[in-house]
Structures are given as C-alpha cells and as structure tokens.
Subunit: 224 residues, 2 copies
C-alpha cells in the first residue's frame, strides 16, 4: 500500500529518546532526512513549551509543537495556551494535603497543567482527586494533571489544520498512554516496541525495535 | 604530548550545532563517547538555563551548565543566578529609546542579562550604552548585554571546582567572541574552523573542519 503521508507527529521522551531522555543518533538522522524530503515533523510532548522549542531547534524540525500534553501549542510561529491550569492546581493542592508529592523540575514554567514526580502511583492519584475535573496521565517520566478539554490529539489537529494538512494524512509515533489521542486522530498509528500496552492496543503497527531505532524503522517504512 | 584532560567545556550554538542551530550527528556521537569514557561535558552557552538543561538532557551530559554567558549556572544539580540584570535592563531601555530593538524569544526567562535581535550592530550598541556598566557580546545569534562581574570563564571555574577539577585540566571548544574567557581559563583551547577571528587568535588549535565536525575532530584528537 502506498502512503501519501504529509507530516509526522512524534512524541519525544521514550520515543526519539531512550529511557534516560537522551536523544539517539538514529532519531537525529531520520528526522533530518524526513525534513529534507519536505515532510515536516511536529513534536507532541508533555514537556513545557521552552523545552519543546529547544528540541525543535536542535533537531531542525519545522512542523510546529504540541507541548504540555496539548495545553500549549506553537503553530506557524505563534504560541497559544489552550489548557486551563486552575482546576489542576486545586487538585494538586488537595493531593499535597494527603500525600508527600513534589512538582517536577521547571514547574514554574508549566502554564496549563501540573506535573508531579512519580513517587505516587497513577491509580492513587486518580482515586484521590476523583472529584476534580482533571485528566491524569502517567507518562513514565512524570504524572500529569491536565485540563480535560485539551489533549495531544485535539491540539495536533489545530497544528495540521494550520499546515493545510488533515491529520489523517499524517504518521504518528508514540510510546505512552498520553499518546493515545494523537495516534487516534492520525492515519498511520505507530507504537514503538517499548511502548505501554494501552498504546500498542490501538496502534496499526508496533515496531520491532525500541526507542529511536523504532522511530527510524517506522519513518523508513512509511515515509522514506 | 599526552593530555590528561578531565572535562570538556563546550559552547553550543555554532559549535555543536550548524549555523541554523541544528545539532549534528557527529557532535551527538562524540559527546556520547566522551561521557562513556568518563569525561564529563559542561555546556557553556548564551542560552537560558531551561534551554541549557534540555540540551544537557537530550545529549546525556553530566558535567554541569553555564547559561546566559555565565549569568546562571547549574552545578551538582543546583541552579545559581550569578549575574545582576538591573544595569543590563537600564541599558536596554536606553537603547530602545534611541533605536528599534527587540528582545529575542524566551526573553521572559532570561534572568541575568538582556539578549536582543541582531537588527543593530554590536558597535552601535556599545557606542550608545557606553555610560552603562555592561559588557556587550555579539554571538552571531543575538547581541547580549551582560553583567561585567560574570562571564563564561569565571562561571566555568565554579563548576570545575565543584567537580574537583582545575580548569587547566579541561578542553574547551568554542566559536564566538564570548567564548574567549572560558577558553582562556582552560588547558587546551580550541576554536572550530568557523569561529570568529578574535577567538582563533587566542586558540591553541583551530580545527580543520567546521561546526560539529570540528568538535569531533578536537575531541578525537585530545580526549579519545
């Protein structure tokens, strides 16, 4: 089957990086090649926008950015905050009153959601803040309390619309639970071999290799 | 001559990246190899600390960080603000009253210095704000107004001290005028082939190759 894919939506931590968040050479190479072929890459990450922008600059990607799990985007050079942090902060304060929890680094820059260290399980967080209108993700790097009205998928659609592309013309590659929505809105849904089971369940294709090798495998198969 | 170099101090923009600020595979590879050999890398950059931290995470470096041209450091996991922004802001306001100048992106995160777009020459900036106690650098990516009591060299020394290393036990590689001080305090002073003339003048070694290829050449020659 021939694919006419026009963009690549790519998670960062655990997808183009290894488990220590270090980017690997295979990912750098295949990203450069895709961009050179005119297929823009859109990073879709739980990181803050400052971090996402630096990653995009360092890797030379041009498609735009989804940061803070959809809470913040950069599209056509403009940054927009889409998620409302208020309820997340209330939920976090409540959680803090019950358990020892801490914000992750750079939390003062997080503008649309709250991210906490994984010193507590996702299940216990969900149970404790059940009455708050907040969606909880465990990304394996942090536990994130997010505005339900935004997610990686809804925000990716805004970026592809601005690029003049439909999301069902893009390839999506991820590794975590919070990548489900942006894979769902995409044409070709890829989970890297190290991905969480919930993501593999909805993927069209699970790579044989892990981390950046999985990314290279998928991009070479479907794009290059 | 055998070198017993214990750390590598490395500029980012124009040194491990190309002129578009994109990191290249040769730099990624040689950085991984040096860290695997137990030679920590310290990034020494004009970027803000958030950006520097992400670069360090993405590239897997462990030596610490000099950000904002020495105005902010991260050493042994702790962030310290060393530069005083007040005089820089006054100088900037004065400059703005005379010419059309704009802050670079992410300027709200800059805490110890002011960085402006290169829509004005370094000479004109220096001339205009001559009465202010500020040092001006043109890094080829921005023009930076900085606190004279800190620079990349003085801040690098703080980090190497915390690592238990003397700066005359490290290799330093840079490309710009604002890298002079940290090369000066280091044992082996390398300018990449694309470096500014003022830096080449004080270097022990100018690489034959440019950008990341120059970094690979220097690290392979002096460390690996």
């Amino acid at each position: 089957m021939e694919y006419k894919l026009k963009a690549i939506a790519l998670d960062v931590d655990g997808t183009i990086t290894d488990e220590t968040r270090r980017v690997c050479v295979n990912a750098v190479n295949v990203i450069h090649r895709a961009e050179n072929e005119g297929v823009p890459i859109i990073f879709v990450t739980g990181n803050v926008i400052c971090a996402a922008k630096i990653i995009a600059i360092l890797l030379g990607t041009t498609g735009g950015l989804v940061a803070e799990n959809g809470g913040v985007i950069e599209s056509q050079g403009k940054i927009k905050i889409l998620g409302n942090i208020t309820e997340c902060q209330k939920a976090y304060e409540f959680l803090k009153s019950k358990f020892e929890v801490t914000n992750v680094e750079l939390s003062d820059q997080r503008v649309s959601e709250v991210a906490i260290e994984r010193t507590i399980t996702e299940e216990l967080v969900k149970e404790t803040i059940n009455d708050f209108n907040v969606v909880v993700y465990d990304t394996k790097f942090a536990i994130q309390l997010t505005d339900p009205s935004v997610n990686k998928g809804s925000s990716l659609k805004m970026i592809t619309t601005d690029l003049g592309i439909k999301t069902d013309e893009n390839l999506a590659i991820g590794d975590s639970e919070n990548d489900i929505e942006f894979l769902r809105v995409s044409d070709v849904k890829v989970a890297v071999n190290n991905a969480a089971d919930e993501l593999k369940d909805i993927a069209d294709y699970i790579t044989e290799k892990s981390y950046d090798d999985g990314v290279a495998e998928a991009i070479e198969r479907f794009i290059l």
